[in-house]
């Protein structure tokens, strides 16, 4: 396990890919995220943990643009993106994964991937082409789709409808779709929710395998898994950062033990 972590660590080059500065989100009088500042380095595997209601998902929504921030700034790749729309953020390289059922169920597996690849390569066609040139004539996009299908090992079911896929294959598809948007940073909000131990393991392995070049930001409840995989961990509590550090540092942190891990380590 330690070697795997080490492997990722070596790829981080100390350059920040995501920077949050004094990020705050209030709903009425309630501060769901309260003055959060953090930096994620390129290539890092970062997990965000915290008790229920700590603001983890809200934090993701602020990073992906699903919610407007109340105060503070978001920098991605050195550029401020605080006021950018979700599609603009995707174009810059922030990918977001949803839970497994969140693919285009009525479309074919190939079409699911192709749509993501097409979104990433919009510069390859003009407005007129986008209205009238059939999708099967965009060679680059279709080649890219083929490559990704190979990578996630779904070429043999490419023409099937996503809804008809077996559970495991659907999971692969979801990760393939994220990959096809060509992200530099991928946000995973509990990708393994509701899964058995083995399924969780398989999913994480797949993420590790397919998204080896990407920076990963993960919300995950399985603490053991988080400890094992992450380069660094951020602990949120009541919208604030309680602690941040390597898995070893977090495990030893008194505050974290009191607030969150207490029940588990004792």
């Amino acid at each position: 396990m330690a070697t795997e972590t080490r492997a990722r660590n070596q790829r981080t080059d100390g350059e920040a890919i995501l920077e949050l500065d004094g990020l705050t989100k209030t709903f009425g009088a309630f501060a769901a995220i309260d003055d959060v500042s953090m930096t994620v380095e390129r290539g890092e595997f970062r997990s965000v943990i915290g008790p229920n209601g700590a603001g983890k998902t809200t934090l993701f929504n602020l990073i992906s643009g699903a919610l407007p921030v109340t105060e503070g700034t978001v920098y991605f790749d050195g550029e401020e993106i605080t006021d950018r729309s979700p599609p603009e953020r995707v174009a810059r390289g922030i990918g977001r994964s949803f839970q497994i059922s969140n693919v285009f169920g009525g479309l074919s597996v190939r079409e699911n991937i192709r749509l993501a690849a097409q979104a990433d390569r919009r510069s390859e066609y003009n407005l007129l082409e986008s209205f009238f040139k059939p999708t099967n004539r965009y060679e680059e996009i279709n080649a890219e789709t083929g490559r990704i299908l190979e990578r996630i090992d779904l070429t043999h079911v490419a023409e099937e409808e996503a809804d008809a896929l077996a559970y495991g294959d659907r999971r692969r598809l979801e990760i393939g779709v994220v990959l096809a948007t060509d992200p530099d940073l991928v946000l995973f909000d509990e990708p393994t929710a509701g899964m058995s131990v083995e399924e969780t393991r398989e999913t994480i392995d797949l993420i590790e395998e397919v998204l080896v070049d990407q920076t990963l930001l993960l919300i995950e409840h399985d603490i053991e898994l988080v400890m094992e995989l992450s380069d660094r961990i951020t602990v949120l509590n009541r919208g604030e950062i309680l602690a941040e550090g390597t898995p070893e540092e977090i495990a030893e942190n008194r505050d974290v033990q009191d607030a969150y891990l207490g029940g588990m380590t004792e």
């Binding site: 979700p86 599609p87 169920g105 079409e111 209205f131 009238f132």
Partner: protein, 662 residues
């Protein structure tokens, strides 16, 4: 002077209270069940007619009047309960837009029932002697019936308020309109209260209808004319808010009766729609409504389930055969010496094109436009005005129609696509009604008279090259094709061309994004697509084709009147799309054919064919929401030797997949 002002104010309050009672039911029904009940106005009319029937049965006295005032709303309440249980209930859990479709079907049914039972005449509810005089006060003669309306309306509104505020039922209903799921979590079966809410709402509407029918002439069309202001009020006050219904009702009543009608009649009928649009854009949840998460908006509209039965080539051939058959219509009609089928066919084809245009935006992006007649009307007037004032080339005029409709669609889309679902439906309705009312007011559009093309020369061609259809004749065997028969081919050509253009668009990146939006808009956003931009483009494309349909519509009649933009037309085109099966380009064409075929068939037997049509439509919405095109696929498993159930839920397979080029 002051006396008149007070009189006008009282008139406004009187009408306002009727609106309050209507809107209160409408609003609470929406708040609790998320149902937009288009049939609410018809329930009011039903109440009025029942009351008349009762008073005539029992004699015209105070007792009979009071009895009618109690019994008729009660009966309508029971009808309301039955409607909720047997038609609305099966649709919970579907996209809330299906309720709009369902209740529009109910409008057709109830409206025609009223016609069927009570005839077309207008009437006034017989009032007991006590309420016919005037009361002298402040040197004014105030009609005692107005006083009665104000007092009884206020009492009724208070009763509803007390019911909501101080009873256990009221508490549950109020809680339910805040957060249904939470109420369920508390172990209360809120669903059981739905019938009650619907019934009480229906009863209130009936009461409102009755007291209104004693005040002014009422006829079967009353429902259609009060439902739209009632919607404006509900939107104004806030969907789901009782307080909003009260304030909104009085506001609109006073605005209409006390300010606009006496002082600026030119603006009457338009101001409320401008107000409605402004409210929806600035504060979609209205003056008093709470910001609700768009509940149920994630359920998809059910697209036509086609394909799976026939091979791609077979289907293509079938399509070509259909075009061939349609092309033969004027020739066969000529052989039989019966031109009826040519005019009938032209009408069907124009509507087929209109339905196709609506489907492009509704079936593929899930945006339900309740005001698509706006574009039909724009196209129709653009062509007529163009041919009268600007050009004598029909093609140029049609191009104008397309350009104008597309431009207005862009503006409407720019303003309203941000507001999703039910709000979008409402805002498109408001724009269409605004335009409809404007057509009556403007001089250039000829007011309610409309405009005719008779006496104006125009030709099919461009830059002076071309000819009038009447001057051209083709001889096919013994048949002479000219005039209307040639126009039929113009329409057929426009439809076929539009079909292939939209089909091509759906195979393009643009179309593929539309399909992804239909499947899952949130996911499409996080693939990097700005879905609002794509939806707006789809709306513009749709508006352009609807404008073309409108232009042909006007040319077909050589005449245009404001009715081209009435909301009934918007409703009818939705009916066609649903009948055929939305989200398939040929479904709406089949739907238009079925709609007019049915009309043709039924008018042989009854003048009230909408009753049957409405019933069929209601049954379609409940049992066959994917439309006629999905019938073969549904039947396939039961047919001997047929293929198994098709695995394709809703999109045209050959268009979704990227196979070789034709």
């Amino acid at each position: 002077m002051l006396g008149t002002a007070i009189q006008q104010l009282l008139d406004g309050i009187t009408l306002g209270l009727v609106y309050v009672l209507l809107a209160a039911g409408l609003s609470v029904i929406f708040g609790v069940m998320n149902v937009i009940n288009f049939a609410h106005g018809e329930l009011a009319v039903l109440g009025a007619y029942l009351a008349v029937a009762l008073t005539i049965q029992t004699g015209i006295g105070s007792t009979a009047f009071v009895a009618a005032l109690v019994i008729a709303p009660f009966l309508v309440g029971i009808i309301g309960v039955a409607l909720e249980r047997y038609t609305v209930q099966p649709l919970y859990g579907r996209n809330p837009l299906y309720h709009i479709l369902l209740t529009f079907g109910l409008v057709l049914v109830i409206n025609d029932l009223v016609y069927l039972i009570w005839g077309t005449g207008s009437f006034r509810l017989p009032r007991p002697g006590v309420l016919t005089g005037t009361i002298g006060a402040f040197g004014l003669g105030i009609s005692s019936y107005n006083v009665f309306m104000i007092v009884s309306g206020t009492l009724m509104a208070f009763a509803v308020w007390a019911l909501l505020e101080y009873t256990k039922y009221g508490l549950i209903i109020r809680a339910g309109s805040q957060d249904r799921q939470m109420v369920r979590n508390l172990g209360i079966e809120i669903d059981r209260y739905y019938s009650l809410v619907f019934g009480v709402g229906a009863g209130l509407a009936a009461f409102a209808g009755i007291i209104l029918a004693g005040n002014r002439q009422a006829n079967p069309e009353l429902g259609m004319s009060i439902i739209i202001p009632a919607f404006v009020i509900v939107v104004l006050g806030g969907l789901g808010s009782f307080k909003g219904a009260v304030v909104g009702g009085l506001l609109v009543g006073i605005l209409q009766e006390s300010i606009l009608r006496p002082w600026v009649p030119w603006l009457e009928g338009m101001v409320i729609f401008v107000l409605m649009i402004a409210i929806l854009l600035i504060r979609p949840h209205g003056l008093f409504g709470t910001e609700l998460a768009e509940e149920g908006g994630s359920e998809r509209l059910l697209a036509g389930r086609a394909g799976g039965l026939l091979e791609r080539e077979t289907r293509l051939k079938l399509g070509l055969v259909m075009i061939g058959v349609l092309a033969l219509v004027p020739i066969v009609a000529g052989l039989l010496g019966n031109q009826f089928w040519v005019t009938f066919g032209s009408r069907v084809l124009v509507w087929a094109l209109f339905a196709l245009s609506l489907d492009f935006v509704m079936g593929y992006t899930g945006l339900v436009s309740l005001g698509h007649a706006l574009f039909l009307g724009l196209g129709a007037y653009a062509v007529v005005l163009g041919l009268i004032h600007v050009t004598s080339s029909v093609f140029v005029a049609l191009a104008l129609a397309i350009a104008l409709s597309a431009a207005i669609a862009w503006i409407v889309g720019f303003l309203s696509i941000r507001v999703a679902g039910v709000y979008f439906a409402m805002i498109t309705l408001a724009f269409a009604e605004l335009y409809y009312n404007l057509l009556y007011r403007l001089e250039i559009t000829g007011g309610s008279e409309g405009l005719g093309l008779i006496g104006h020369d125009y030709y099919y061609g461009i830059a002076g090259v071309g000819a009038s259809l009447d001057d051209v004749a083709f001889f096919v065997g013994p048949v002479v094709l000219t005039g209307h028969s040639l126009f039929y081919y113009v329409v057929l050509g426009a439809l076929v061309a539009s079909y292939f253009v939209t089909r091509r668009m759906l195979q393009s990146p643009f179309g593929s994004v539309l399909k992804s939006i239909r499947e899952n808009e949130e996911r499409a956003t996080f693939l990097g697509y700005n879905t609002i931009v794509y939806k707006r483009r789809a709306f513009v494309v749709s508006g352009a084709f609807a404008g073309l349909a409108g232009g042909l519509f006007a040319l077909n009649n050589a005449f245009v009147s404001p009715s081209a933009a009435e909301w009934l037309k918007s409703g009818e085109v939705i009916v066609m799309v649903i009948l055929g099966g939305m989200g398939t380009l040929y479904g709406p064409i089949i739907g238009a054919g079925a709609f007019f075929g049915l009309e043709q068939l039924l008018t042989h037997y009854t003048g009230r064919w909408r009753l049957v049509l409405g019933t069929i439509f209601v049954l379609f919405v409940i049992f066959l929401p994917r439309g006629l095109v999905s019938v073969p696929t549904m039947l396939a498993p039961y047919l001997p030797g047929g293929p198994g159930p098709a695995a394709d839920p809703g999109q045209l397979p050959e268009e979704a997949k990227t196979e070789g080029d034709d």
